[in-house]
Symmetry: C3
Subunit: 364 residues, 3 copies
């Protein structure tokens, strides 16, 4: 049901500070995440192999964890290294460990065959490590399947109706604009859409010096398997020629959203909305952070309602409209990869790379 041989985001690094033992269900498996004394991030099955007690109620000891029911101790590889009151430890006694990589403040985890876990396959988002891009990393929990969130992000027209007064700005967005390009990628899609000469949408209006001036707006979205969305947004003074590459006076955003299935009906949603123009004024990040939460709550409201409706009637068949081409491609691709994985065929190598932030993020 889930693609397993790929990298998912398991946590932001700040969720593991102060020795926290983070219990998190990922792809319907209970995982315990923590950083050992050495700094190493450890991911183990959150279930003692002895009597099934949860290890997150245990105690971290160096890079190891001790179950606080009967005292069994496990090292970062999951191997049992101590049983109080017993001298011999069966060599195979232990819990599953998962490959994890800490990169650019994200903890990535590999839920499939550890042999295939190659950190080079982790999707790269350089804006998260670039000092010129600022934002507030955050997390939301969704009571909905992660693909409903992928769907949501696949059609920008929803900005007009779900987010009229927040992220969208007006219903014109749905009527007057269309995608100028929809590209089917090997592991996802790319969509580009322009909206010329319109008032800036509310979230942008709050952080710019001249909120009355009309803007030309460009959104470029990339969706990647298994559920990672990168959005480049550009707002330029209306008529300044942004569509021809004149970016004088433009402001840009980089938005990353990582959807990781908790269960088939719930999702971990990690995100950051970065700007490259705030300088030292962190209130711009804070304003954008608040605006985005407001917008995400609008999505969450309708998507969770949608999940309930789908749960009630498994017979219901959705009907596609023209704008569903990207999401149809995404689901088709993902289904194929899952099928290949289950049949034992090696999936195609991921390779989506982002451009360099120094050149890509032209600032105002």
């Amino acid at each position: 049901m889930f693609l397993k041989n790929c990298w998912y985001v398991a946590a932001w690094d700040h969720e593991l500070i102060d020795g926290r033992m983070l219990a998190r269900t990922l792809l319907e498996q209970r995982v315990l995440l923590y950083r050992g004394d050495s700094g190493q991030v450890v991911a183990l099955a959150d279930r003692c192999c002895h009597r099934g007690a949860p290890l997150h109620l245990g105690r971290r000891e160096g890079d190891c964890v001790r179950c606080m029911y009967h005292g069994l101790k496990f090292d970062p590889s999951g191997k049992c290294v101590q049983i109080p009151g017993q001298d011999v430890i069966p060599p195979k006694l232990g819990v599953r460990s998962y490959p994890v990589v800490l990169r650019d403040h994200l903890v990535w985890i590999w839920m499939g065959d550890p042999e295939r876990a190659n950190p080079d396959d982790i999707l790269d988002y350089p804006f998260l490590r670039s000092p010129q891009w600022k934002g507030v990393p955050d997390y939301l929990h969704y009571k909905a399947n992660y693909l409903l969130i992928v769907d949501n992000l696949s059609d920008f027209a929803h900005l007009a109706f779900v987010h009229t007064h927040t992220l969208g700005g007006s219903e014109d967005y749905a009527y007057k604009t269309r995608p100028v390009a929809i590209e089917r990628l090997e592991r996802g899609f790319r969509v580009e859409r322009w909206h010329m000469d319109a008032p800036p949408p509310p979230f942008h209006r709050k952080v710019i010096p001249d909120p009355q001036q009309n803007v030309d707006r460009r959104n470029i979205g990339h969706m990647h398997i298994p559920g990672v969305f990168f959005l480049e947004s550009l707002f330029a003074p209306a008529g300044s020629g942004a569509e021809k590459g004149h970016l004088q006076g433009a402001r840009e955003y980089r938005n990353c959203q990582f959807m990781t299935p908790e269960t088939r009906r719930t999702t971990h949603f990690f995100w950051n909305y970065l700007n490259n123009f705030e300088g030292e004024d962190h209130n711009i990040s804070r304003s954008l952070h608040q605006s985005l939460i407001e917008g995400f709550m609008e999505d969450k409201h309708i998507i969770e309602a949608q999940q309930q409706i789908l749960d009630e009637d498994p017979e219901f068949k959705m009907l596609a409209v023209a704008a569903d081409a990207p999401l149809s491609h995404f689901r088709w691709t993902l289904d194929k990869l899952i099928r290949q994985e289950q049949e034992g065929t090696r999936p195609v190598a991921p390779g989506a790379r982002q451009p360099d932030p120094a050149t890509a993020g032209a600032a105002a």
Copy 2:
């Protein structure tokens, strides 16, 4: 599981004022109810045919509704009449609409084959439109199958035990009285029961000038398929000859209760308890309204407990006592109609009509 080709009450008309979009599950189907600008009551499947978003989160536009996820617009027949950003609309794109009729403050809905929906088959209750009968229309939600409420109303003996201190008055009602008539009807039953020379029950005592005087009490209940209960109650001074038709000094009530399945385990319960003697003193209606709620809460408590018990053990077989004849007939009749409906046989035509209120409701 439910009889579909018949009229159910979906709402009181006051539930649709101020443009309210009423989301209500009926027979396990999500329905959106609203009144359009023209005054027309519209009932549509509360699920957009595109991605399954709930239409009740949408926006009413005239007599139409627009889904506020991607902006599809539907007319009162359920046909999709606009897709923002798309010029051609597939002719079959749309959602299901249900026949509805607004009559005497009740919204009736037909959940089965629309071809068979004949408004002449709607059960008539003239007391709801007669100016001499006054009451407060109300609604209760039950966590129980609607037939458990039908059962409850089939044996007035429960008045003695469930409602001793509210609607019943004393346990004598169960010991000293018996139905004088039980009539099996083609689509329901009629029960008549007298209780002679007893103190008035508490709910009645509160609204009469001489609460110390004993009364002769007559209850006549009609239960109709699918779950509609009409009760005529008469209280006459004890010994005044009401049983011989002398109604001098009698006071009467007309009580209607409409049980509509929400799911197989929950029920919408619409009711009104009408009197014909309050004149302009609306406090009598209000007192009766409060007394009835008190009594219904007693029913609800035991019926919902009963539902839980039945859910726990599907093997449990109830044992009938003599007083169960009416409910047995009702369930047998309903089962037969459902079976015929599922086999495609046309059910017998409903035709239960109430007498004219002008002659039927002889007042004090």
Copy 3:
């Protein structure tokens, strides 16, 4: 799934005072418990045979109970003795009654074949009736299968990790001590464990005059089918020779815990922690009572988490360590008895008897 032909604890006698109608689910059956006017304890199926209404919402009349839905009345044997408004009562009409025995403040119930119910088979715990042993009887509800609590009590090593700062005292208990004896009994097991020359654990330290002095600690636990635990604890001054039978200056506890399945996932837990040294100072009982609740909450926290984990993955196989010998024997024995019961073989007679309290409970 449960052993039925054996005695379980259904309640403490104080739960039935003041005419209380106690509704309690036992082995997934709803049972109503009450004491009649004669003093007799009655246990009936808590479901009227007529329409399934719960009898605990009914009314006690002498030793009988009346269903307050339609008024059917049942005697202590479950036989229906009155149907209001009906002269003839079918002779088989009635509800199931269960054999119950009130002994030493415990209400024991037999959920299986009543023919086989022999009060002589009830496990005897004389300390509950001995005036020299004092304690506070209490009850906890567990959201876990009762066998997980049996498991918990089977390995005292958990004292070191779960109860380090309450009932255990230190982690040394797990590292420095081992059971000196594990006896497999026909219907349970016996475990004895000593911990020499250690500081008294917190719960004991609070009720003794010299909390600084080290103690020699002996625990002897008996676990009996179906889930009854008796624990004898002894604390003697370190080096006083308690292990050779010199009990001068020793203090003792008798702890009984009765685990009765409510459902396969929930448990009634009755317990009393008795001491023989408080004399008239009831604050010692109260202090021990509070300490034990504190400790039990630690157990409950981890055992309920364990239940959730086991529920999530029925495929999970626990791995036994050496200390699991007693619980493995217990589960093997219980499984065998359940299998024999389901195949119709008569189970072996229970016969676990406790020693006489006058000789067994040597006091300080």
